[in-house]
């Protein structure tokens, strides 16, 4: 697990802030996206993108349209976290959004495997007789219908990053190209964003590949914390740190209570 001592400039920004800033840069003006419950980092990313370069980014698909929260909350799917918004929707509309898909969505998991599959159901045993039963997932469809999704987790350990999930709650690239195409899937995870690093997926193998490490994190750190054979390209960048302007907007406007600082 990431500890603050591994961050060179920990006084400058936290891993959570790095994750939010990286994600915000990948969202494009005019897109439509959403995050689920327990999604402070994704919500921060969307709000920051709207402020920074994507004023026409729409947030919808989880029963409200374009929220204006006054602060971040650890849950982002209730009135408290919503603040205000432009329109209320219900599960009726969520049913429709889930079919029509979004431009992007965010996922997290108890287990994440090398093909970006996500498990929130059980670890060990079977679904009917699990050793450890997880919470399950409200909506498994956005992983299938959204044009892309991000895996965003605050935990990067060998327990979480496993070779093969015990149960596929939301599909990534299944067991690679053959199974992915056989299942009729068209989209999938674009980046996996953790407190240590950014991973993408190699186009040929659809396996997770290191893209960049955050300031103060070494490639070996990432390898050590990953429970499968992470693809390592010849050249690994340092994740472009937050700019002063990004940090200012994040802290002054998006997250004035400093949820991502703690």
């Amino acid at each position: 697990m990431m500890t603050s001592s591994t961050i060179r400039n920990s006084q400058d920004y936290t891993p959570a802030e790095m994750q939010a800033v990286f994600l915000s840069r990948d969202l494009t003006d005019g897109e439509l996206g959403a995050a689920g419950a327990s999604a402070a980092i994704p919500m921060a990313a969307m709000l920051l993108a709207r402020l920074k370069h994507a004023p026409n980014l729409s947030i919808a698909g989880e029963m409200f349209v374009n929220p204006y929260p006054k602060q971040l909350w650890s849950s982002m799917l209730d009135d408290r976290a919503l603040g205000a918004c432009e329109a209320a929707e219900t599960f009726l509309e969520l049913f429709a959004h889930s079919h029509r898909g979004l431009d992007f969505f965010f996922h997290n998991g108890m287990q994440i495997d090398q093909y970006g599959n996500i498990n929130l159901h059980h670890i060990g045993g079977t679904i009917d007789a699990p050793i450890m039963r997880g919470p399950g997932a409200a909506n498994i469809s956005y992983a299938v219908t959204s044009r892309r999704f991000y895996i965003c987790t605050s935990v990067h350990t060998k327990r979480t990053f496993v070779p093969k999930v015990d149960f596929i709650t939301s599909p990534g690239y299944l067991q690679g190209p053959e199974s992915y195409h056989a299942a009729g899937l068209k989209y999938g995870p674009k980046y996996c964003v953790t407190p240590l690093a950014i991973m993408d997926f190699a186009p040929q193998t659809l396996r997770m590949r290191l893209k960049s490490v955050h300031e103060g994190v070494s490639v070996d750190d990432v390898i050590r914390q990953t429970g499968f054979d992470l693809q390592i390209p010849e050249h690994v960048d340092i994740t472009e740190p937050p700019t002063a302007d990004e940090l200012r907007l994040l802290r002054d406007v998006v997250d004035p209570k400093g949820l991502l600082l703690s």
Partner: protein
């Protein structure tokens, strides 16, 4: 034109909830719970379900559930769940996890679209709802509510999810008139309308009963019309410890204290089960009216804090 003279009230008193429950649902039947995660959940009604010692219930809800389901399981009321996500968001649900791992309840593998699609089909009066958004997930391999179907127009294979008709639905909203016209003031109305339209019987707790004239003055704001509602009961802070926005916020401290207690029991801590049953006795069995319940969870001082938190949003 005023034509409410002689019209029967659907308002019941807190003391009548127990009889209403036992008259409308039996052990082993399907109970639907409204709200979402930690808001708009009809907790005062759920506590009465426990006091009535209803057993072996099948539980369904809007796709996100947590505290109330965990409490019902801890109290031994539940045999099966049809719940996509069971979580306290910042932590897992201890009694749910414990019961599934021990095999004492069956947690069916379902997702949001099977549940919402099932409510939608029942509300619409058709036997199933088509779903085309499932691929690659293990959830669909184990989901008992779905079958494959072929589109008669395009020939494509997709799924049908079965109509879900709960025996009884328990909902919480902010306002209603005595004839059962319900008004959500919260931005979110969750799946409450769909659940109301799909269930055989619907009981709604509200923070406040308002005059019928008030409902008629703003008909587009009625979230559930009276024709779908069988009884309505005014229970101040009836959703506690979940929130009822904009009236009062979520009592995270209470939920965390419960979770710590239930998680200790799950882990087999010394006195873990005793402490969990003591929680149920103190906050569910003993308080037979809402005043004594509120007194047991911090009284006016705590409720004022939750009201203030909601107002500050």
């Amino acid at each position: 034109m005023s034509i409410t003279t002689g019209r029967k009230t659907k308002r019941i008193s807190f003391n009548e909830i127990g009889t209403f429950l036992t008259n409308t649902i039996d052990d082993g039947e399907l109970l639907a719970i409204g709200g979402l995660f930690k808001q708009g959940r009809p907790l005062a009604l759920v506590r009465e379900v426990i006091r009535q010692r209803l057993k072996a219930l099948k539980i369904i809800s809007s796709p996100g559930s947590g505290f109330d389901v965990d409490l019902l399981i801890a109290a031994g009321c539940v045999a099966e769940t049809f719940l996509p996500a069971v979580t306290l968001e910042t932590q897992m649900c201890p009694s749910f996890r414990r019961a599934v791992e021990a095999g004492t309840i069956t947690a069916h593998c379902v997702d949001a679209l099977s549940v919402v699609g099932g409510f939608l089909a029942a509300a619409n009066g058709v036997p199933f709802q088509p779903v085309a958004a499932w691929k690659g997930s293990d959830v669909i391999k184990h989901n008992p509510l779905i079958k494959e179907i072929t589109c008669p127009f395009t020939g494509e294979k997709l799924f049908a999810t079965k109509a879900i008709r709960p025996k009884l639905a328990l909902l919480h909203a902010q306002e209603a008139d005595e004839f059962g016209n319900i008004r959500h003031l919260s931005t979110m109305t969750y799946a409450d309308q769909l659940i109301a339209r799909s269930a055989d019987t619907v009981l709604v707790s509200v923070d406040r009963i308002v005059p019928s004239e008030d409902i008629i003055s703003r008909p587009r704001e009625t979230s559930i019309p009276c024709i779908y509602v069988d009884a309505v009961v005014e229970i101040p802070f009836g959703a506690h410890p979940t929130g009822s926005f904009p009236n009062y916020s979520i009592d995270e401290d209470h939920i965390d204290a419960y979770a710590a207690c239930a998680d200790a029991a799950r882990k087999g801590a010394p006195d873990g089960d005793r402490d969990l049953q003591a929680y149920i006795k103190q906050h569910v069995i003993a308080p037979t009216d809402q005043e004594s319940y509120l007194a047991s969870v911090g009284g006016t001082i705590r409720m004022d804090e939750l009201v203030a938190e909601a107002q500050a949003l």
